[in-house]
Symmetry: C2
Subunit: 318 residues, 2 copies
């Protein structure tokens, strides 16, 4: 009835009636039932955002980008976490899709067949974020991690380092870290260089883990002149340790991480890193969803952003 019109400020309603309805609603502490509304209108103002992890430094920034854009609209982000597990991703996706969101923003391009099928069949805009090395179901916004790895390798070689060690999360779980690693080794190979030592970890306090792994690696392979980390947190831990031990960084040993984590900007020494454009990825993804929903023909396909190397204090000038 008219009430519905008032509550949604739709259609023409006389100011008098309008006031009456509004008043009554307030007095009753009325909260509309979106479930019924959604069922009737076949529209849900929710955007499903599916990410591997919450605690990771990368996600909050992506989320900020998404929120910034969505805040000015009716749309609301709803977050689901997969813990990097394909089965869990499938479950979370199923669960979210069963609420018929208006769009999906999902991290990564690697999904189980079932997940891809669901995404393709959902009939809503699907934006895969963070990565562009692969084929998106619909659209993708991110950076090429393979290229990121290559660029870093080139910068390292250009700076004259040759004996390189790598530390990172156990590959396989984290496709983007894996791709960076692949790009990295590939570009090194082109320069005739091979990684001399490597170590992988699964979990633990990142800074502390970085220290431990670095200590172990330098003990094992004292000849190394560069340490490349799959992320800034372990890299920063390693850097702290190296400084304490009195290593000449970046003179004798160079170091680099990945992500350009804001949080670490106050450390005494700044690790070389690469900005992963997290906030912009969030923003762009949300914008594409909006455009699609408005019927505009937004770029279906890939949007590849260009990460920039920040040499910090741990990469000597070429």
């Amino acid at each position: 009835m008219t009430v519905s019109r008032v509550l949604r400020n739709r259609g023409d309603v006389s100011p008098t009636t309008r006031q009456k309805v509004l008043e009554a609603a307030r007095q009753l502490g009325y909260v509309p039932n979106k479930i019924a509304g959604a069922l009737a209108s076949q529209r849900v103002n929710l955007v499903a955002v599916i990410i591997p992890s919450m605690s990771n430094m990368v996600f909050p920034e992506v989320m900020t980008g998404i929120s910034r854009v969505l805040e000015e609209t009716e749309l609301q982000p709803v977050v689901g976490v997969t813990d990097y597990l394909p089965e869990k991703e499938e479950k979370v996706l199923y669960e979210m899709l069963s609420w018929r969101p208006s769009g999906v923003i999902i991290a990564g391009l690697e999904h189980s067949d079932a997940s891809r099928a669901m995404l393709a069949a959902a009939g809503i805009p699907v934006i895969e974020i963070m990565d562009t090395d692969g084929t998106p179901v619909d659209s993708a916004v991110g950076i090429s991690h393979r290229r990121a790895g290559r660029e870093m390798a080139k910068a390292i070689l250009a700076a004259g380092y040759r004996r390189i060690g790598y530390m990172g999360t156990r590959l396989g779980l984290d496709h983007r870290a894996r791709k960076r690693f692949e790009g990295f080794t590939e570009a090194l190979a082109k320069g005739g260089v091979e990684i001399e030592d490597q170590e992988f970890y699964t979990n633990g306090s990142a800074l502390g883990k970085g220290r431990e792994m670095t200590a172990a690696m330098m003990a094992r392979s004292p000849e190394l002149d560069f340490l490349y980390y799959s992320n800034d947190m372990i890299g920063a831990g390693g850097l702290l340790w190296m400084r304490e031990q009195g290593y000449d960084v970046p003179g004798a040993v160079g170091m680099a991480g990945f992500n350009d984590v804001q949080l670490l900007h106050g450390l005494p020494s700044k690790l070389a890193t690469m900005d992963s454009c997290r906030q912009e990825i969030g923003r762009r993804a949300a914008e594409i969803i909006l455009a699609r929903l408005n019927g505009e023909d937004a770029p279906s396909g890939k949007v590849e952003l260009t990460p920039v190397i920040n040499p910090g204090d741990t990469l000597r000038a070429p």
Copy 2:
């Protein structure tokens, strides 16, 4: 019809029919419409979790606690962020309640009248978390921040420090920081000590902010022999700066923060801090929701956890 029974494994269905239905569902890529289901059954397996911020180190851990418990049930957490703004909290709450969740977990005890009214009228379990200094709408799980402040003040006095400076977020936005500050000054007053210098900040990179503020304060008030920070991040920044400057910590100047942020465990020197029981808070809150939903008469009222001081390397022994 029968299909519904199969998909929910409810009621008696012959294995034959069951198989047929399951097969058909898979082939069609059927994803049930929870909207319709929820409308019909008047039940929604969602728990609204409303928190001030995502990037804050505190939230992910609370979320972990909640997820751990909820994972073994039908219930799913859905997160809303308020940015510490009461108006936004109101909006987010309204939005979430309009989806008729099974329960609400919301940070803090301070809410607008409208928010409290909504929570009270929702007719679902409402758990206010993090804080117990105040009157909950329904139940509360957390620590007493006033007491936390007092305990830290006592420990500082016991260690013999007397000339104390405070740095933290601008009070008023963050009620829990405010309460800690109040408890802190109160206990100091009992010991005949007053804060000699204080500084508040609004935003910025936490470690970096800590450095800046600390530098400014030590320049302004070189007589200080203790620095108390409203959180570990700015405290850690301050500590790094103090070490660089060659201060004798904790000999000449003691320092302490709050939260016991895991992330910082790899720093060269460990700030004295107080564990805020974040994961346990999440766990307990979720458990209460579950118990309530199962009709058990779970503790309505407050559950106060006891934070423990971790002296780290920046608080000398008494």
